[in-house]
C-alpha cells in the first residue's frame, strides 16, 4: 500500500492526493484523446479497405483481360496441352501440370529438409552452431530469385544433367517420373530444386522458432519417462508445433506456386507434357512471365490472363485449404487448452 502511493506521489502532489484517487493525473476522455482514437480507427479501416480494393481490382483486371480467351477457348483451355501461339494453339494443361508437379516435388523435398534443419537448430545444435548456421539459413532466403535462377542455369543444370539425372534414371528409371532426361539439364526437376532452395529457408526459420517455443516442462515430462530424443521430437515437439509448421509449409508452397523468374530460367520452356521430371515444361507463373511482355496476338495476351486467373484460383484454394487445416489443428488445441 505505502509502496504504491509512494511511487505515485511525485506526479500527484499534495493537492491531487487531497482530491482522492479518481482525480489523480489528467482526466481521460478529452477531445484530443477522442480525436486520436477516431483517427486510429479510420486509418486502420482505410488501410484494410485499400487492401480489399486492390485485391478486387486485380481480380477484376485479370478476369477482364481473360474474358476474350474465356469466350474463344472456353473450358477446353484447361485440358488442352499444346501452347503454340504462332499456330493459334493455346492450352493450359502443360502449365497446370507443370505447376502441380513442380510444387509437389518442391514440397516433398523442402518440407522434410526444412523441418530437419529447424529441429537441428532448435534442439540439437550447440549455441555456437545455432548462432552461425541460423542466420546463414535465413540469408539464403535473401538471395534474389533471378540470381538463384541464373546459378541454376549455369551451375546446377549442367551438374544435374551430368550426374544426378543419369543416376536417378538408372536406379528409379522403371518409374515414368524418372524417364530419360533432356540434354540441357533444364526441366521440371531442376526447377523444383531451385524452388526448394527458395522455400527451405522460410520454412526452416519459422519451424525453428516454433520448436523453440514448445514448453520446456512438456519436454522434461517426456524425458523423465525415459523417452529418447527422437521420441521427444515425435511425441511432443512436432505435435505441439504442427499447426504452425503446416502454416509455414503453405507459405512456402505459395512462394513455389507464384515464383516466375527463377522457374522460367531453369524449366526449359517446354510446350508439352512430359511424364519425366527431367523433361522440360513450364509453370503457370513462368509462362506468364515469358509471354506477358510484348505479344503480337491479342488472343495470346488474353490467354496469358486466363493462365493468371487459373493461378489466382489455385492460390485461393490453397489459402482456404491452409486455413481449414490450421483451424482443425487449432480446434484440437482449443480442446486441449480447455
Amino acid at each position: 500500500m505505502s509502496g504504491g502511493s509512494g511511487s505515485l506521489s511525485p506526479a500527484l502532489g499534495p493537492a491531487a492526493a487531497a482530491r482522492g484517487p479518481w482525480s489523480a493525473g489528467r482526466a481521460r476522455g478529452t477531445k484530443t484523446d477522442r480525436f486520436g482514437d477516431a483517427l486510429l480507427k479510420s486509418l486502420c479501416a482505410a488501410a484494410s479497405l485499400l487492401a480489399v480494393v486492390i485485391l478486387g481490382a486485380i481480380f477484376y483486371q485479370v478476369l477482364d483481360g481473360a474474358s476474350a480467351a474465356f469466350s474463344q477457348l472456353g473450358i477446353g483451355f484447361l485440358v488442352h496441352e499444346v501452347w503454340q501461339p504462332n499456330f493459334g494453339h493455346f492450352g493450359a494443361a502443360t502449365f497446370i501440370y507443370g505447376t502441380v508437379v513442380v510444387s509437389l516435388v518442391t514440397m516433398v523435398i523442402a518440407v522434410p529438409l526444412a523441418i530437419s534443419i529447424g529441429l537441428y537448430l532448435s534442439t540439437t545444435a550447440s549455441g555456437r552452431v545455432r548462432s552461425v548456421v541460423g542466420p546463414l539459413v535465413e540469408m539464403l532466403a535473401a538471395i534474389p530469385s533471378v540470381i538463384l535462377g541464373f546459378w541454376g542455369l549455369i551451375v546446377l543444370a549442367p551438374f544435374l544433367q551430368a550426374h544426378a539425372e543419369p543416376f536417378l534414371h538408372s536406379t528409379l528409371g522403371f518409374l515414368p517420373l524418372f524417364g530419360k532426361g533432356e540434354t540441357t539439364g533444364l526441366g521440371l526437376f531442376t526447377a523444383s530444386l531451385i524452388l526448394t532452395i527458395m522455400v527451405v529457408p522460410i520454412v526452416a526459420a519459422i519451424s525453428r522458432d516454433l520448436f523453440l517455443t514448445v514448453p520446456k516442462d512438456l519436454q522434461d515430462g517426456a524425458i523423465a519417462l525415459g523417452a529418447t530424443r527422437w521420441e521427444v521430437v515425435r511425441g511432443v515437439i512436432l505435435p505441439s508445433a504442427a499447426s504452425g509448421v503446416v502454416a509455414a509449409a503453405f507459405l512456402g508452397l505459395g512462394r513455389a506456386l507464384g515464383e516466375a523468374i527463377a522457374t522460367l530460367q531453369v524449366i526449359g520452356g517446354g510446350n508439352f507434357i512430359h511424364a519425366s521430371l527431367f523433361g522440360t515444361g513450364g509453370t503457370l507463373a513462368s509462362r506468364i512471365a515469358e509471354d506477358a511482355l510484348g505479344t503480337p496476338y491479342a488472343l495470346q495476351l488474353s490467354a496469358v490472363f486466363y493462365l493468371g486467373a487459373i493461378l489466382l484460383a489455385m492460390e485461393l484454394v490453397l489459402n482456404l485449404a491452409a486455413q481449414a487445416i490450421m483451424r482443425r489443428f487449432d480446434a484440437f488445441s482449443a480442446v486441449a487448452a480447455r
Binding site: 549455441g127 514448453p215 516442462d217 512438456l218 522434461d220 515430462g221 517426456a222 524425458i223 523423465a224 519417462l225 525415459g226 523417452a227 529418447t228 521420441e231 511425441g235 511432443v236 505435435p239 505441439s240 488445441s333 480442446v335 486441449a336 487448452a337 480447455r338
Partner: protein
C-alpha cells in the same frame, strides 16, 4: 500418521515383495547390459527373465520391463493398492533398510555457480524420503541429478558419485534414457501432454514397446494413481480438461505406467489445494509399498505427515552452496534434531 514400522499384512506385502524382487533383478540385468563386467548370477537372472518372453523383437532397453512377470505384477499391485487403501496393509519400512541410492560427495555446479556441495546420503527402498530446506538450497538440483534430468541443462557439472543399486548413474557406459526409465519423475507444475488421458499414459509404454494389454496397463496406472474412478468414462478426452490435482495424479499415473523403481517428486502438491494435496499424500502412502519415493516439499507438515526419512538441506553461509545439514528419521528431524540450523528451520525460526 506414524511413520514407524508396523508389521505388514502378510499377503499383500508378500505379493509386492515377490514382484519387487523381479524388478530389482531386472535392474541388475539392466546394469549388466550396460557394463562390461557381468557377474554370473545376474547374467543368468537376465536369461531366465527374458527368455520366455514371447515378443523377441523388443528393444534391448526394455527387455526386463516387458517380461511376462508383469502380468502378475499388475495384479498384485492392484491387490496391494486395495489392501493399503482399506488400511490392512499399512507397511512402513522394510525390516532391513536396503539403500537404493548411495550418493557420495555429490557436488553440482551450473557454470561457476555451485548449487550443492559435498552431499552424501543414502536413500532407502520402499520409503518416502523428504527433502526440505529453504529456497535455492539445491533440493531440485539434487533430485534432478539422481535421474540425470540435469544433463541437458547448460553449464551443468557434477562431481562425486550417484550409485543406484551399486552402479554409478553417471558412468560413461550408462544410457541416461535407461536411467530415467527406471527412475521416474513428477514435476512441480502438472505437465500433461496435450493428448487424451489415455494417450498421456500409453505414450511412454508404446515407446518402450510395452504394448501388450495396453488398456489394462492404462487402467492399472490410473488406479495406482487413484484417478481411475474419476476419469474412466472419459479416457479419450483431453488431459488438459482435468483439474490441477487430477492432472498431477495423471502425471503420477503416467510415471508409474512404465513401472519405474523410484519416483522422484519435486513439490508435487505445491500448486494444489488442500483436498488435492491430501489425495496426493494418501497416494504416496500407497505407492511406497511398490516404489521408493523421494519428495521435495516446502510444506513442513507434509514432510512430517508422509515421510519416513527427512533430509534437511541449507545454504552454507560462506560459500552460498547448498549442503545437506541433517538426515534422519522424520520424527527425529522434527522433534529432536541434532543440528541447531535444523531446529531453527523446522520450528519456523529460520531467517
Amino acid at each position: 500418521m506414524n511413520p514407524n514400522v508396523t508389521p505388514p499384512s502378510q499377503s499383500a506385502f508378500g505379493a509386492v515383495e515377490a514382484e519387487f524382487d523381479a524388478l530389482t533383478s531386472g535392474v541388475a540385468a539392466l546394469s549388466a547390459n550396460a557394463e562390461t563386467a557381468t557377474p554370473p548370477e545376474t547374467a543368468s537372472a537376465d536369461a531366465t527373465q527374458t527368455q520366455p518372453h514371447p515378443s523377441g523383437g523388443a528393444k534391448p532397453r526394455i527387455r526386463i520391463g516387458s517380461a511376462p512377470v508383469h502380468a502378475s505384477a499388475m495384479q498384485s499391485a492392484e491387490s496391494a493398492t486395495v489392501d493399503a487403501l482399506s488400511g490392512a496393509g499399512r507397511a512402513g519400512a522394510a525390516p532391513a533398510r536396503e539403500s537404493i541410492f548411495d550418493v557420495r560427495e555429490m557436488s553440482v555446479s551450473y557454470g561457476t555457480n555451485t548449487a550443492i556441495s559435498g552431499v552424501t546420503m543414502q536413500i532407502q527402498r520402499n520409503m518416502i524420503t523428504a527433502l526440505i530446506g529453504p529456497s535455492g538450497c539445491g533440493k531440485s538440483t539434487f533430485l534432478r541429478s539422481l535421474n540425470r534430468m540435469n544433463d541437458s541443462v547448460k553449464g551443468f557439472s557434477i562431481s562425486g558419485q550417484v550409485l543406484y543399486h551399486g552402479h554409478d548413474v553417471y558412468a560413461g557406459s550408462v544410457d541416461p534414457v535407461e536411467v530415467r526409465r527406471r527412475i521416474g519423475m513428477v514435476f512441480q507444475r502438472p505437465n500433461p501432454f496435450p493428448k487424451s488421458i489415455y494417450d498421456n499414459i500409453a505414450w511412454a509404454p508404446r515407446n518402450l514397446r510395452m504394448k501388450d494389454d495396453l488398456d489394462r496397463r492404462v487402467e492399472y496406472a490410473l488406479r495406482g494413481a487413484a484417478l481411475w474412478d474419476e476419469v474412466k468414462d472419459r479416457l479419450h478426452a483431453s488431459a488438459l480438461g482435468l483439474s490441477g490435482g487430477q492432472q498431477q495424479r495423471l502425471c503420477i499415473a503416467r510415471a508409474i505406467a512404465i513401472e519405474p523403481d523410484v519416483l522422484l517428486l519435486d513439490e508435487p502438491a505445491s500448486a494444489l489445494d488442500p483436498i488435492a494435496t491430501l489425495s496426493i499424500e494418501q497416494l504416496m502412502q500407497t505407492l511406497k509399498h511398490r516404489y521408493t519415493i523421494v519428495i521435495v516439499t516446502h510444506n513442513m507438515q507434509q514432510a512430517a505427515r508422509i515421510a519416513d526419512r527427512t533430509a534437511f538441506f541449507s545454504l552454507e553461509a560462506t560459500s552460498r552452496a547448498g549442503v545437506l545439514v541433517e538426515y534422519d528419521d522424520t520424527d527425529v528431524i522434527f522433534t529432536r534434531p541434532r543440528d541447531p540450523r535444523t531446529s531453527d528451520y523446522v520450528t519456523g525460526r529460520f531467517g
